[in-house]
Symmetry: C2
């Protein structure tokens, strides 16, 4: 009864064979998807400490042992092949996009799987609160803020937030519902005032697409999984590998 | 209007000068106290990962940078002198108890501050739920269980739990109240059946003191801050330093 791409292993197997290369939004509904970040062991303590100090931006789904490619959250999966796309950064600069990283793998690679907002978005919509970027078929709007992350070792940089316009009557409810998903960034960081975050113009996001904000709506800001990538770039890491934008790792965890 | 030992800095200063050497239970009410664990940087990634994988046993209050002695949670404090007592373990074996560790300090020492149960205990009592070991003036009863911690690198071992007898009508309330304190181990691990945890005899705890259990009471088990010490010993670490039993680090964090 299984149709293609409705289970996590469908998506992972198709990614491994090269037949699935698109973003994973809407795939394997009900399963937790994760941002991925790989750093060499020399930087792994600092990055793990960074995640521990910035749990809203970097909620840890799993950290793999050095060299390990099979996550506990997806038995049988291979982190080096089972995402639809990868990005390689060298000295903090984007170097290349690849469909797998098997040829680049090093025994000292430590993989971090970091929660993403898909889980709480579906719960919010099920609670009767519409999400503009979904309705408009756009990527969510994301902004660099003037809120510094708590640094750890070489890792430092600004918090990146995603913004969703919410009707004022629904703000309390969206806080409550999103708060049930700490692995998907949890409650908002900020409600209502972009200037307080150093955001000059909501119409010009730093990542993703701008969306319309209607007169009875309030901009609500959540910590965003793009933060660790932005921080890795700002920190000039010799080498790190991430998922390609929107092309997440799909776990076997329901939630 | 301040009397001695009612503020965190009172206790820390008196510990530093050597005039305060007793357990910290009841000191500086309202402020978070922490278990302490120091490991050399070579083991720090593994231990941080262990804490991340076992958050109920090892809720992280703060992790200091390598070599750092002043915690962010207590500006002006010194982790090497401001606890009432320290224990040094070599190759997993208890070596000595000291009143400070300034002479042992290494630039690669990484300090972990791990939440303890004092915060939730005062909230539980304020909610009208009596705690037997407090009423009897004893240490809480603690037991090694057959629940293995999730291992990380060299760190592995059993989960240690604390047990408090709770009237059956109060069990739901004690779950709710303790759940508000994730840094103090949060909700119970288990309610009611010691055999399910591999505990043969509640009258003979592995640590602390036995307490009476009355006919209308249920034994309730929480993950315990002794776990990381037991695991460090079981893992045969070349060197680690902890607080002496009951002699916690007192932070400036209210909660």
């Amino acid at each position: 009864m299984t149709t293609p791409f409705t289970t996590p292993s469908d998506v992972r197997q198709a990614s491994r064979s090269g037949s699935f290369v698109q973003p994973t939004a809407g795939c394997a509904p009900g399963f937790i998807q994760a941002n991925m970040m790989i750093v060499p062991q020399a930087q792994a303590f600092d990055f793990l400490l960074f995640c521990q100090r910035n749990p809203k931006s970097c909620p840890l789904v799993e950290v793999l042992a050095p060299g390990q490619q099979e996550p506990a959250c997806a038995p049988g999966a291979n982190i080096a092949t089972d995402l639809p796309g990868y990005r390689v950064y060298r000295d903090g600069v984007f170097a290349e996009e690849r469909s797998d990283i098997a040829a680049l793998w090093q025994d000292d690679f430590v993989t971090f799987l970091i929660g993403c907002s898909f889980s709480f978005e579906s719960a919010v919509m099920q609670a009767g609160i519409p999400l503009r970027h979904v309705d408009q078929g756009r990527n969510v709007a994301m902004y660099r803020t003037n809120l510094p992350c708590t640094p750890a070792g070489i890792f430092q940089g600004p918090t990146v937030v995603s913004m969703r316009p919410i009707k004022s009557r629904d703000v309390a409810k969206v806080v409550e519902v999103s708060g049930r998903f700490p692995l998907a960034h949890g409650t908002p960081l900020h409600v209502g005032n972009p200037q307080a975050l150093g955001i000059q113009d909501l119409a010009h996001p730093d990542y993703g697409d701008a969306v319309d904000i209607l007169p009875d709506e309030v901009p609500v800001f959540w910590a965003c999984g793009v933060t660790p990538q932005a921080v890795a770039q700002a920190s000039g890491l010799p080498l790190c590998i991430t998922h390609a934008p929107g092309k997440m790792f799909i776990t076997d965890i329901q939630g």
